[in-house]
Amino acid sequence: MSCIEELKYEVLLSQCSFKEAREYIKKNFKYTVEVPPGYRIFNVHLIGVPPLLVGIEEEKVIFPYTKPCYGTFVMRIEGKEEIERLRAKR
């Protein structure tokens, strides 16, 4: 169901734990939004334990992306519409 592979993405952190991903986003991005587990972004539902943080940097979204066999990745993808939805949550 994921269409992340079809988007232009950057991997900021690879195959880490979910907590490492959370700490990375918290430490490196000034603007973060807490979303509930299962929050839908770029057509995927985020996996993780609260607090689940999503970062915003200019027009890009930074979020944890967990795959069962590979662990968690921190991804950065451009997404104006997603940022609008996230800002509305704050």
Binding site: L46, P68, C69
Partner: protein, 163 residues
């Protein structure tokens, strides 16, 4: 040495009944997962529960190949589609057994604890089971066994909670 322990009030039996139960499988790289999932599905279906197995493509292939006539497993679905459907309120379960031998497995189980109303049992196994157990900070009943190749320690824990 492969040992096991249950935690909390896991020794209390889950009563029989027609319940909708989810088995949430992680990456199938640890051998005991498929064996225990088939055993669990069999026991649940035998007592009248409806079992849905969600997992990665590889995890489901291992299950289906081992049960070609569908004696033990019923409905199956992709793990991310399962999470999506529960998140969107399209379906839910009364019981969930989540399998975890890695941080990713724990994260999926943690997501279930938040999005689902199911009573959550978390089966933690593999060489790092004890260390992994310490990372669990959400409500669930943990069944922990340092099991990799020998499924019996996990089987014993399951037998303690399913009548």
């Amino acid at each position: 040495m492969e040992g096991s322990e249950s935690s909390g009030d896991a020794a209390a039996l889950i009563n029989s009944g027609k319940r909708r139960v989810l088995l949430l499988l992680g990456c199938p790289e640890v051998p005991v997962q498929t064996s225990i999932a088939l055993y669990l599905a069999h026991n649940l279906r035998r007592r009248g529960d409806e079992v849905v197995v969600a997992g990665t493509g590889a995890a489901l292939k291992l299950m289906k190949l081992a049960d070609p006539m569908g004696h033990y497993i019923g409905e199956t679905m992709n793990i991310d589609r399962c999470i999506a459907s529960i998140s969107e309120g399209k379906m839910d379960f009364e019981l969930c057994f989540a399998f975890a031998h890695s941080d990713a497995g724990i994260s999926y189980a943690g997501t279930m604890s938040y999005i689902s109303g199911a009573e959550l049992f978390l089966l933690i196994f593999g060489r790092g089971a004890e260390e992994l157990e310490k990372t669990v900070d959400f409500d669930c009943r943990k069944l922990v066994a340092k099991a990799v190749h020998d499924p019996v320690p996990l089987k014993r824990l399951i037998d303690e909670v399913i009548d």
